[in-house]
Amino acid sequence: MSIIRGKSTDIVAFISSPMTWVKSLMFLEEENRLLREKDLVLSLQVESMLNLQKENDQLQAMLDFKKKTKLLLKPAHVVNKGIQPNLLSIVIDVGTNDDVHPNQPVLTPKGIVGKTVETGKNASIVQLISDVNYRLSVRILPSGATGILRWLGDRKAQIREVQKNVDINIGDKIITSGFSKIYPAGLPVGKVAGVYDERGSFQKIVHAILPNDMSSFQYVFVIIEESNEME
């Protein structure tokens, strides 16, 4: 069945590609303007980051850091968003030919959007974070509390199995915990929007806001490898 689904994904991606091209042209001018603005902002950021990197290198040398984690990212274009009446999965234009395999994390610069579940030669199906079967082990910073994230609707999500005695505040950052073979630690997920005590339980419920609008992104990245390089 997996082979059939992989082949059918390739066909769907091939049929959808002209429409994706038309869609890209429609948004080209707007995208160009946004990119110019982004370019300016990033140039300024790069300047300050270069200074920070120098400082960081010095500090790392001082602490004798041995390992450095590096993620290998594969950019992909969203060619189709499924044909179900609700958006629960997408098809992207990279597959096994591009070293993309099932169970690899998919993200945008804002944060995690899902993972690959089926791959063809040139296309893959991505299970979105908005799918009912999707769960993500996360860590809330700065408290360090961990929990399991599930989607709740639109850009809202809920984190359960969070210890009651930890201090969590609205606006705290949520990242992947690393307690997973799929997701490396430290990938951005969202921000805390609310904290609730579950009556009669030793756990808290945390509500989160996800940064990605599931209906709008056109480009994603697939993390195809997490290599540990010795300095």
């Binding site: 059918s8 049929i15 429409m19 179900q84 629960l88 999965s89 609707g153």
Partner: protein
């Protein structure tokens, strides 16, 4: 029964759903033209044809990029085909209002099963979000079904 009556419209509507439905999306909700097609087929050809075509259309949908619950679409589209088949030839026997109410209820039931499975955790956490999802999905497709009624009414199939 000619196979062309199924194959050509089936492929045409699948392509429309695949390529155009995303342009008509309201946030994450999109119109479902495939279910309207299954309903038309069921009312025109009866329960057996409706169920089989619903199953095949459902398979086609699941093979077009479904991440989880593979097999849910064949189930719900078969249900729609089966229930829609009961309306074959019934326009002359039923009050037009009840005839219309019947197919609206069939579509609503199909989306209810879909949402019940896809949003089962939301049902427990916040039923209001669940109802909003279900009503939103159903109403949006019903709007398009209503527009198609003006051009090609269901009762003309009888």
């Amino acid at each position: 029964m000619r196979w062309n009556e199924f194959i050509i419209p089936g492929i045409a509507i699948w392509l429309i759903q695949l390529l155009i439905a995303d342009f008509l999306a309201l946030k994450t909700i999109r119109p479902d033209f495939m279910v309207i097609l299954v309903l038309y087929w069921a009312i025109k050809h009866g329960r057996l044809a409706g169920t089989i075509s619903g199953f095949l259309i459902g398979m086609l949908i699941d093979l077009s990029g479904t991440a989880s619950f593979f097999g849910l679409s064949p189930l719900i589209y078969s249900v729609t085909g089966y229930l829609g088949g009961y309306l074959m030839g019934s326009y002359s026997k039923l009050n037009p209002f009840y005839f219309s109410l019947a197919w609206v209820c069939i579509l609503a039931f199909q989306f209810f099963i879909f949402c019940m499975v896809q949003y089962q955790n939301i049902w427990y956490v916040d039923p209001q979000i669940f109802w909003t999802k279900w009503i939103g999905t159903t109403l949006y497709t019903l709007c398009f079904a209503g527009i198609i009624q003006i051009v090609y009414p269901l009762h003309k199939l009888n």
